[in-house]
């Protein structure tokens, strides 16, 4: 499946990003995250969210039964909503949509419920473990905390959930069904996943597993905000191309010649067994002969790790880069002629999809 220009012959207006909230291995408050994204990062096999970030006294009552999965989502959602407070003033809560996407969902709590079945029997497992093991649990908590009474969607996808969610938010905003959409992704590093990962991803994969939550408050394109986000546009001319993992992408697919390396270069190493084949860039994304010469490319995977919702974290990196006016993350391509620099006012996330030989993209415009 491809989202982005090629299939969407009827592009929708972009969504305005009015607020950002994030709970990540790089921190929670945005200036801290941006600062850390501009610094080198040591390789680590797992990138976890610090427990300290999840103990927020302002929401402790509402989250007293909540586990790590819910807390990451709820706190990021709360931050995104709070940052957009002025832009959301006067909007009826019935007209605020909520979309929460996750690949693996609250699987830690799910396995806890299975522990209950195996240890106590089918009839005596804990009901709260069951009710907190379903995908919709995060959306339910967020709706309750913020009194959101519009449409609520929980979705799941192992690769493209965030892109799908952005597309749906654009549908809702463009049709006038919603005045605002609080949209986010959440992924949890569970023990079962960690223990099985080395066998699921053999060959010492060149990336760390990550976790966290990224939420955005979105409005219609004329609502102002920090930037615009679009799952329907093509992206042949972007200031910053954000790649999942450099080694997924042969540079020749994007760049006519090796770019000027940035500091802390990544990329270029062969893919391990089981990794996706080189992507076939979609018509909306430059392929052979259509290049990004003179532009930047970064990856944020060394900072946030890999999750099923990579695009959410990539978008966070892109938004922070646009705010900073320079590419953050691990730079993997830079203009060969440093001056005059091309205008740096837009970015695109680009993902290769395992087994599908397709591509996904989201565009961000300042």
């Amino acid at each position: 499946m491809t989202t982005g220009g090629p299939h969407l012959t009827n592009p929708l207006p972009p969504a305005a990003v009015l607020g950002i909230g994030a709970v990540t291995p790089m921190g929670r408050d945005l200036p801290t995250i941006a600062k850390r994204l501009s610094e080198p990062v040591e390789p680590a096999p797992l990138l976890r969210v610090s427990d300290d970030l999840l103990a927020d006294p302002t929401v402790s009552r509402g989250l007293r039964r909540a586990d790590r999965f819910v807390r990451m989502a709820a706190i990021a959602a709360l931050d995104a909503w709070t940052q957009a407070q002025n832009a959301c003033a006067g909007v009826p809560m019935e007209r605020v949509g909520l979309i929460v996407t996750s690949g693996l969902g609250p699987h830690g709590r799910g396995f806890k419920f299975l522990d209950g079945i195996l240890d106590c029997g089918d009839s005596d497992a804990l009901p709260t473990d069951f009710s907190h093991s379903v995908h919709g649990v995060a959306a339910s908590y967020i709706a309750g905390l913020l009194d959101l009474r519009g449409p609520s969607l929980s979705t799941t996808d192992f690769e493209s959930g965030f892109e799908q969610a952005v597309l749906q938010a654009q549908c809702w905003l463009n049709s006038g069904s919603c005045a605002r959409v609080l949209l986010g992704a959440v992924e949890e590093l569970g023990e079962v996943l960690i223990r099985c990962a080395s066998r699921l991803l053999p060959g010492n994969p060149p990336f760390a597993l990550g976790e966290g939550a990224v939420f955005l408050t979105l409005g219609p394109s004329d609502a102002g905000g920090i930037a615009h986000l679009d799952a329907t546009a093509s992206a042949k001319d972007v200031g910053l191309l954000i790649l999942d993992e450099p080694s997924f992408f042969p540079q020749s697919a994007f760049f006519p010649s090796p770019g000027t390396p940035g500091e802390g270069q990544g990329g270029g190493s062969p893919r391990p067994i089981g990794a996706p084949p080189p992507p076939q860039p979609s018509p909306g994304v430059p392929g052979e002969g259509e290049t990004f010469s003179g532009r930047y490319a970064s990856t944020f995977s060394p900072y946030f790790g890999h999750t099923a919702s990579n695009s959410a974290f990539q978008s966070l990196g892109g938004l922070l880069s646009l705010s900073a006016g320079r590419p953050l993350g691990r730079l993997i391509h830079a203009p060969s002629q440093p001056s005059p620099r091309p205008p740096f006012d837009n970015a695109a996330t680009f993902r290769a999809l395992c087994d599908r030989s397709a591509s996904l993209l989201l565009t961000l415009t300042k």
């Binding site: 299939h7 079945i117 195996l118 709706a143 979705t155 463009n174």
Partner: protein, 396 residues
Amino acid sequence: MTTTGTSPVWIAGIGVVSAAGIGLPATLAAFRNSVRRPSAVLPFETSISCPTFQVTADLPVLPARYNNSRTLRLTMLAVGQALAEAGIQGFNAATRVGVAAGTTVASQLNNIPFYEAYRRIDSPPLDAIHDYLHANLAQAVGDLLQVTGPRMTIVNACSSGTDAIGVAASWIHAGLCDVAIAGGGDELNRVALAGFWSLGVSSSEPCAPFDRHRAGLNLGEGAGIVVLESDAHARRRGRKNAFQVAGFGTACDAHHLTAPHPEGRGLHAAISWALAQGQIGPAQVAFINAHGTATADNDRAEGKVLARIFGPEVRFLSTKGYTGHTLGAAGGLEAAFTILGLREGWLPASMGFENPADDIPVAPLRQRTTISGEYAMSTSLAFGGNNSAVLIRRFA
């Protein structure tokens, strides 16, 4: 929230797979004869004793990587029926086909044998994880049909199937696809059974929606699929469809993780939105296929809302007495049953209902009933406080 748009969303075909029947003729026969087939024998070992509604038909054999997902096999059976009814043999490359699918079981790694092995040994077989990773419902359906277009797997618990139809309709309204395959599928699963049992909302007897003595739900399995198409696509292939998605509304209670708002606040809003989109009043709705799980809270809240909006003479039923609660499939199945009711001009008895309940101000249909009208509605309530309503319109 409603899905607004100017482009009509036609319903070109429906597919139904449930314990009530495989396909439309078998399902109609069960409805006509008030036959239900709860099974006391479960397809897995468990200490819980309760009726379930199982699909006993042979399911399609899928390519190996997909074939261990019973949910996907149930869904593909319904997809095949719906496409056949729509007169669609295949899609050309230029046709943008979206897939919006609701599920619960297929979205979770609820595999007890795997987890038992994981707890016992260092290196448990990973087949279950590989199967799970290939079983994302919308992606798998799209891959099997080899179609390109938006895809979304919706995990809104029991309203997932209805929400999938709403999402797919919004894609067509927005011009994002020409055709959309929408609905849901779910299989019986030991973990879900234990979960609902632990919550105290399962009945050890065949379920009795809206009845005074209702004691909880029975789980079922199945799939319900509708094929939606844009007006332009229908005209291009010379297709005259008889049914439309005339309205969709969805609203969150923002009240409780597992219980509905006691006054049905979100459901009231969802129904109101759907009526507003259809530009009709409640009196124009011929009947409602209610969520009607037979749990105390759901039926009380839903009954109050139906009475409040549609009045004391509202015609409604729950088909869960025939199918059990099929979770992510329920919204797709019940939308399809709503279309069938409008098409056939009669409704089955609301199976399991005998005695009016003191706490519910309205009662469902006791017997097979002739109906006429242009509009009907299907409603869904879910864990998490989701409420959704889809309004169907019949054209002569």
